[in-house]
Symmetry: C2
Subunit: 206 residues, 2 copies
């Protein structure tokens, strides 16, 4: 039986690192930028462009119409760039899940694989204070305050998710497991995911 | 250090049983109907009436204005019944949390104790199929389909929560831990809560 773990996360919550570590412990592939790269290869888009598109909802910026992608409209069957990318990303996620056990971070994989019974869908979040300190520590200061950076990034992810899935982002019911990494701790989050994914019962004896 | 566990839950998810079992394992008090009883004693309302009020948002039914509570408007300082009950329940939750470690199910305790650093806030949910089967098994059939009963009950809890807290119900960010009891299993949910509440690290060794 394949065990596919999808990880959705608030910016700065450490969800990406948690997913990476869980994949390492379970000895299964981890897809994130790798997945983006695959999509890039299929479409001819630059990986950086695809990564940015993942954060925007079409129609919010209008940029997807302004910048014609390589290959022209014909390649995209009349779709705008963001919609075309969605279709390609969706296909890539389905193919990766078909290949076998893996961890997939982001890319609305929780939604794309919502009917797949072999999935464990996880959401990682933390409060603003924890995430603000973490992004400054990891990525350094910038012109914008860390709180504003978080707010912008979360708003984009939320709008993108809503646009393509029709669902609200960060709802408990869309995930089997949702964890506050700031309170529970990254190591405990990894342990928990690994334990559940491996189908092991938690210990009932002290 | 006190450890207070608040459990919010979708109807039929087994959150109440999970909370009760966690309290038993941790050897700490469990408050649910007990809490309601305390409130009842303070206000003179019938416990049944208070329990029902917990499911309704004021203004949705208008019933809180139609039925005058015992004691009359004077006792309630001009507040309607639902608002008055909210204040009394809030006070009761704060007092119970002050007394020491405990498990509190429902009553918007996650919101009331949101600033309390000794809390573990948990949300228990499950898909409609799992919950429909469970409520029929536990409570039997009724005129309404189990799916409709779930929908009605969840809508009431959600409206009540929104009215008194201003927050959306079932958002990951409002809980440290959110679990799909249908997928993870009630026993595993209990284990996990007990382990985290007791401040124990999950095992990292296999």
């Amino acid at each position: 039986m394949n065990k596919i773990i999808t990880i959705s996360r608030e910016f700065g919550s450490g969800g990406r690192s948690i997913g990476k570590e869980a994949a390492k412990r379970l000895e299964i592939p981890y897809y994130d930028k790798e997945l983006i790269k695959q999509v890039a290869e299929k479409t001819g888009f630059a990986p950086q462009y695809i990564e940015e598109q993942g954060e925007y909802a079409p129609g919010k910026t209008g940029l997807s119409y302004v910048f014609a992608p390589p290959g022209g409209q014909d390649t995209m069957n009349g779709l705008n760039a963001a919609d075309y990318l969605w279709i390609m990303q969706r296909q890539a996620v389905l193919e990766l899940a078909e290949k076998g056990s893996c961890v997939i971070v982001g890319r609305c994989a929780d939604y794309i694989l919502r009917e797949n019974p072999d999935c464990l869908h996880v959401f990682i979040h933390a409060d603003t204070k924890f995430r603000a300190e973490r992004i400054v520590r990891l990525y350094g200061e910038s012109e914008k305050s860390p709180e504003l950076r978080l707010k912008d990034k979360d708003a984009r992810r939320s709008a993108n998710y809503k646009h393509f899935t029709g669902r609200e982002w960060g709802q408990c019911r869309n995930y089997h497991l949702s964890l506050d990494s700031g309170v529970i701790g990254a190591d405990n989050c990894v342990d928990l995911i690994v334990r559940l994914a491996a189908g092991k019962m938690l210990l009932t004896e002290e």
